[in-house]
């Protein structure tokens, strides 16, 4: 798989990782898996420094978010990633946007959020243009 070779993250030695980052890494590991894999495979792939229950917790959380699916094979679950690259990128991006107070200083955002008064003004101004806000 072409994309697989760009990834180096999961080989790193143990260090503290945030929840969002862990989710992203688990998803990445699943993306690179040859097919549906067990939680033990995911744990192995992440470097083995996580508890088995942690991996299961993350997988369950991702299941609730519809980012992964699972099937029962004999007595274990096999997991697969359902999100595509654009979805995964969005997940990582959102994690970054939510977590960084300073993001506005670095990433020039197209528009800033409006106050109620701003919203009224914007609607008025847009009505002046030909098509209006709904146009």
């Amino acid at each position: 798989m072409r994309k697989g070779c760009q990834v180096t993250d999961h080989r790193r030695p143990a260090r503290r990782r945030g929840q969002g980052e862990l989710e992203a890494q688990v998803l990445l590991a699943l993306r690179q898996a040859p097919g549906p894999v067990s939680a033990a495979w995911v744990r192995e792939r992440l470097g083995g420094d996580l508890a088995h229950t942690t991996v299961l917790t993350i997988l369950t959380r991702l299941l609730a978010k519809n980012a992964v699916s699972r099937e029962r094979v004999s007595r274990a679950f096999l997991w697969r990633c359902t999100a595509d690259e654009a979805g995964l990128a969005a997940r990582r991006m959102r994690h970054l946007l939510d977590g960084e107070a300073d993001r506005e200083a670095v990433l020039a955002r197209f528009v800033t959020s409006l106050t109620a008064e701003d919203e009224r003004l914007v609607r008025e101004l847009l009505n002046e243009t030909d098509e209006g806000p709904e146009g």
Partner: protein
Amino acid sequence: MGLFVFLPLVLPLTAWPIARLAEQHLHPRRATRLLAWLSAVMAVCSTLSLALIMVVGTAQLPHNPLPDGWSDPEVREAVPYDEVAGAAAIPALTTVTVLGTATLWRHHRVRRRAARALDHLPRRPVAVVRDVRPYAYALPGRPDRVVASTGMLARLDSAERRALFAHERVHLTARHHRYLLTTRLAARTNPFLRPLHHAVAFGAERWADEEAARLLGDRRLMARAVGKAALAGPRSPGPTIAALAAPGPVPRRIAALLEPPPAPAAWPALWTATGLAAWTAAAGTTVSALASANSAFALITLLHAATPL
């Protein structure tokens, strides 16, 4: 050097009127560049004088590592109120250093993490992420990329999307993140420079709006794209007292786009409000720079004389 050494710490105040007037009267490109430079020069001068005051202040402390001659009375006389000022300068300069380093570090961390978030998407100038939340960012890096969420693109028609991408490309080609980082660092070194940072942030948006509108040949289209994108996004709590509610950046950008394009900047005449503000700021910066240079020179001469060789 006397009180001159304190001047660069307060002279950034002279830049306030120009931050306001530059927005109203100068072409956004010129306003952004001018304010960023002002901010950088004043920050350097302010930090330099803080360092000078600190050297004199540190020399008074017992067990300091500086040469003994540096606490001679003639050195101490160089800085008025040397005991108070010197003692205050030490935590002040430490704070400035810590804040500045933290700002730089966070800047690089955000860029690195954003680049990593997009690692697996095709390395094209536009990265579309599948997210219902509407957002769009210009992300400098290798390669420079525009990040847009599907939530944002879904609210815009194809012409408006072109406007959005044109706007973000201007941010990237004109390297706006450098102006923003510069003024942000400056605002960390001297809080009086904070209004300049806000003015530059707004100026960069206006610059991108104007340049994109020029490339598209349609100012109304640009205005509509900004408006629709903003209406799609979240609301922030406004000031509770209605009289204080000055229009935010988005309505101001749209209003400016609905006006004719700004004149491609000649320097303003002296006897207009803009002219006066420009010259006040220019004078403030010059005096600030001269005062720092003068103080630095005086102190270095003095310390040199006081150092036993």
